[in-house]
Symmetry: C2
Subunit: 324 residues, 2 copies
Amino acid sequence: MYTLEEIQKKVSQYFADEDFGSRLGGLYEPIGYALSQGGKRIRPVMLLAAVDLFGGDIEQARYAAIGIETFHNFTLLHDDLMDRSPVRRGKPTVYRKWDENTAILSGDAMHILAWQYFLKQPNKNLLEILQTFGKTCLQIHEGQQYDMNFEHRDDVTIDEYMEMIRLKTAVLLGGALKIGALYADAKPRDVEELYNFGIDTGLAFQLRDDLLDAYGNTATFGKETGTDIKDNKKTYLLLTALKKGDDKQTATLKALFSSTPDNPASKIKEVLDIYSQLDIRSEVEARIAELHEKAMHHLDAVSCPASAKEPLHKLACSLLDRNV
Amino acid sequence: MYTLEEIQKKVSQYFADEDFGSRLGGLYEPIGYALSQGGKRIRPVMLLAAVDLFGGDIEQARYAAIGIETFHNFTLLHDDLMDRSPVRRGKPTVYRKWDENTAILSGDAMHILAWQYFLKQPNKNLLEILQTFGKTCLQIHEGQQYDMNFEHRDDVTIDEYMEMIRLKTAVLLGGALKIGALYADAKPRDVEELYNFGIDTGLAFQLRDDLLDAYGNTATFGKETGTDIKDNKKTYLLLTALKKGDDKQTATLKALFSSTPDNPASKIKEVLDIYSQLDIRSEVEARIAELHEKAMHHLDAVSCPASAKEPLHKLACSLLDRNV
């Protein structure tokens, strides 16, 4: 059994040891660039923590861990292009550093590499592992499509939003855990509980992200705050405010979220004022706490000793208690 | 054993029976659109013909056949976006009918669907089948990258061009045949011969395409002629002419292939005149005949009765003898 820190160290080492291609510059160089930007490597850590939880040999899932992170980074690379985001993790995005066609083609190649990593290590459950991976990948794309559709709608409900983030964010955490559990040949009921732990953790994680975007400390969050408001994103905060607000507040919010002023500072302030009047922050905090608790119930239900669950327990807490 | 026409009919039926998603319009509608445009379905026909050649049950490879065509159409969808091609098979391309982001995201989803199709039917050789598919997919993207790199180079050799079309076009024909052979559990030597039959057929097929672009009858070819010249594409014809031409002809060709006149008719005529002076057409015909012969030697070497090879023999002839 490993500690969370040991697993995180192993994942870092796996990525440091991997050669993402020095051949054919235009195709592989952006892949190496995208994968070397670091980040928390949450998905491979979860995958390997799940292998370890059920007594599997994490070395036997090494390439699945690299594969799931490669897939995740491929989606970020194409999302950045579709969203025209100039910066990720403090560096120019691939489409900015190179160009659009390079981002399209090297993203596509990364997507293939992700599958190839999964095919590197046979396992008795490989077919189910690959089917889980494929289903998860497709759901993420459905989530991205819902997110894009939401931009053109002004009647998005909170339930629809939760379904969108389930697909776009939560299923990959659930999928990583399920794949890890399958590598260790865990019992179906345990696989399911662990998957649901991942889903609820993922939902709470995304709500925390929405909250951080509005109230985060730029230094610790690592991103500018207020960008969701600036970009008129329909977040959990906005949808809750639209639901709770009176006619005047709702009308003001709708007007603000249709505007794109050159200097967004006063727009951001006006929105945050309404959020504050409606106590949106406490409302979101309560929903995060509720999801966190649900997640922990699922983890508790997994038939392993509590001590073995420590790394996943700790990881979920670190994801959800990020300072606001 | 089926005839070529029976296999082609089966493939058409498979596609007619398949529901490419009526849910989530923005994501699946373009996929259905791209896959319903028809085309010759060469790759699934080859895959199933290979299964049948070795006495396998082609129904057991039904979803692999759909998967390989889905992958092929995904690459066309993204290529059309990267090349800014407005029309494919007489209809607007996905990025024109919808928009760029729809083309990126629905292409990515199609790519996942291709893998999912392969995972629908277990087979004792599934791991090798998937590894063959993955390697082939990556090679195609490497070929596309070489092709894009060639645009910015003026020293492309004929050997480099042949390597580019091997990756971009030929490996998918070879891969389709290899996968079909693996479904039928053919002997490794036969798998290899059949793969090489596909490679040489694919190379000849691409040279025939280059020739058709310059000399094809628009009505039977289904595309405008002279587009490669108009678009300054480095084809086998141009590279051969640059190699064979005297200093004056070479200089004229280089100048013409750096120009993009509004009305390209006289440019096309000038280029074709030089090709004619240098007898380029016969040269390319000779290379196609040589590759066709090499392909047939590989097919001959497969340890099956000659009668069983009839569909593949006929298919290769139909691909390579397309009227100029």
